[in-house]
Subunit: 442 residues, 2 copies
Amino acid sequence: MSKRAANAGDDAASPKRGKQASPAASTTTTSSPDDDGWELKPSNVANQTINYIRTIVDGIAIPAGTEAKPMLRLSIGDPSVFGNLDTHSTISDAVAAAVKAGKSNGYGPAHGLPKAREAVVKATPCHPEHPITPNDVIIASGASGALVIAISGLCGAGDNILIPQPCFSLYITIAEHYGIKAQLYELDSQKHWECDLADMEKKIDKRTRAILVNNPGNPTGSNYSREHLTAVLALAAKHHLPVISDEIYGPMVWDGDFHSIATISTDVPVICISGIAKQQLVPGWRLGWMTIHDRAGRFERHGVHAGLMRLSQVIVGATTPIQAALPDILSKPPTAFFEKTKTTLKENGQYLEAAIAKIPGLRATKPQGAMYMMVEVVPGAFKELTDGTSFADKLLNEEFVFVLPGACFKADQFFRIVTAPPRDILTQAIDRLTVFCKRHHK
Amino acid sequence: MSKRAANAGDDAASPKRGKQASPAASTTTTSSPDDDGWELKPSNVANQTINYIRTIVDGIAIPAGTEAKPMLRLSIGDPSVFGNLDTHSTISDAVAAAVKAGKSNGYGPAHGLPKAREAVVKATPCHPEHPITPNDVIIASGASGALVIAISGLCGAGDNILIPQPCFSLYITIAEHYGIKAQLYELDSQKHWECDLADMEKKIDKRTRAILVNNPGNPTGSNYSREHLTAVLALAAKHHLPVISDEIYGPMVWDGDFHSIATISTDVPVICISGIAKQQLVPGWRLGWMTIHDRAGRFERHGVHAGLMRLSQVIVGATTPIQAALPDILSKPPTAFFEKTKTTLKENGQYLEAAIAKIPGLRATKPQGAMYMMVEVVPGAFKELTDGTSFADKLLNEEFVFVLPGACFKADQFFRIVTAPPRDILTQAIDRLTVFCKRHHK
């Protein structure tokens, strides 16, 4: 089995890069000491740090495609790689100018330059009675960096955190890195992937320290209603649990409005995660943040706010020239720039949903936001292809269409399609998917 | 006591930024539950994450200075803030061009873009019989990010790591964040701050997993000889311990040559830490790396190499346009650029050493590299001023000269002077230091 390139990223390999074998995957390891007395081993932290997407993707042999059927990659959650969605010139100009000006080359405060945190405050929707200040913002190395601080700030080894299933599996990676148990609660594919509140409540125990919600959803493409988020908050309040809300796909929705859970909470402390990766189409720039909506001042009173600040001092955040440009990045691009992305994702999502509805054996779920769509492999519909993993594997090898098996997101019966690519790539993929399903359907 | 601005950075506040009170310092916390049943607390990880410099500096009331005596800050280890040492135009041009080109906005591999890792290989001194490949490089969010991966990859909770005393205290912060014990070994101020090998050996026990060495040294300004590094390696080999060598100040030396410990090791696995913060004068850009010099293939055989790679997948490294520009950053600036920095630091260091030798009650140690100098407060020399903390505090409040007390580096009898500022600032500082010492000398 040929190993795939050692590419990473948010959740799947870029098609552009990498020729080397994955060092992680290609290493043959042994736990017996060397003859000369050396006895090395990775630490427990290293052993319990598993990126599930990488582990699965690194195990997939990726064929080259053919001239007639070039490889179609609908796997990577990176809107910038397909060439149809570029960042706006006001964004790159602002950063290039900050770099050339040379006034922002020094260390910034660990939780971010004041002007960057002020810009985040301006751009963050809040509850009308509870505005935030720049001291409620921590700029981090990507939204992932902010998630590390939030999860490790609220939960410690032996605690647990409620995490949706399916989910962006980095949540689990971060939790397990710190010896925190990822307690998975179900999302309901029949109800636009809403949280199954009964299941969520069942999973809460004495060691539960926080509830993580992801809205708009990856890999689900869901967009939660105000009513649903209110119900989540009611459950959090009943059990006195703070909420971490990953809102990196922020207002990238078209079916209903986007509601930040921070705008709804009246009592539950909320940490919102966001950044410039997806909306501004620059995931590689690694600038994200958390906003701390400390309803009722509980985080401050009990030292949690101070603890989050201390955690931000370990690796000292994001690139300063990009921080210096953040006021421009968040204010200069015209509405049309964001609308173009949203329209592309909406129309692609609608196209895919309608097209997949006609393919035997598949059941698409409706994307309402973000840049993903989950497709269920109907149990029993295919010979041999019993789940998302076997389906995705065969599809890749027979039709050179690369979708991520749902196992990457703890949803075995599904596969995930990225809805960001240009339409002609999607129509080719649908054509091949149709042929493939007809061939394998019982 | 007025609180200082919430600035962080490598190790001390920038004079330029921040007006808010430190959130960490200004928060009054309580551990008793709220009346309504909420019982929040920071995690054990947050509680054991202490940035010692910030904790000390945040507790210092910083006066404003006067018109006659403006504040002189010799505290911050950031060469870019004084205005006399700017990065080179080839460096900022390369990054600005990468940003404008828009070809590097997507996710890179977790351990770095291939071309960035290739550039690091080219720039890294190796043992002639053991070259490294791009798979031995992990690009990270600053050298700090690389240190997090290296320390947590080799040591786990309950283990210990040997760390120099005095030291850049982030080593301790990172270790304690993971529940790793920082086992301090002494550096000898009488021998150019060489490692006290007898003390180092005494501190090794069954739970010791690695030896951390810092060369050139912060806060010591030391530059270790080939012989000394060979002796350190012999001790590491005897006890079968890998070495983490923080070489972020790389070739910034003038008293003797710089020797990377990786060029000397014939048997001991070495992880070297470096980056563009100090030599290229852009600490805020947050691009650092580790190079894995896996002598005898031990890391690979025992899964340590794979563990380090897995750890790199948690927050996904450094800003991609800066990675894309790294080949230019590391090859384009002319030798004169590096020489200017080195000459400034050398001449400033020599000036300070000679000037302090004439001040009663102080004992300077000779800077051989990096951008620091440690000054000992001679025990018993002053009325009241018994250690580095009381000395630095009084100096700040009477003379508006800000130096960091040695307690920031676990060296109570010393204070640290940054040698990077323009000479006129240093001469003013020496004048005030002289007056101050004469006034307080017994």
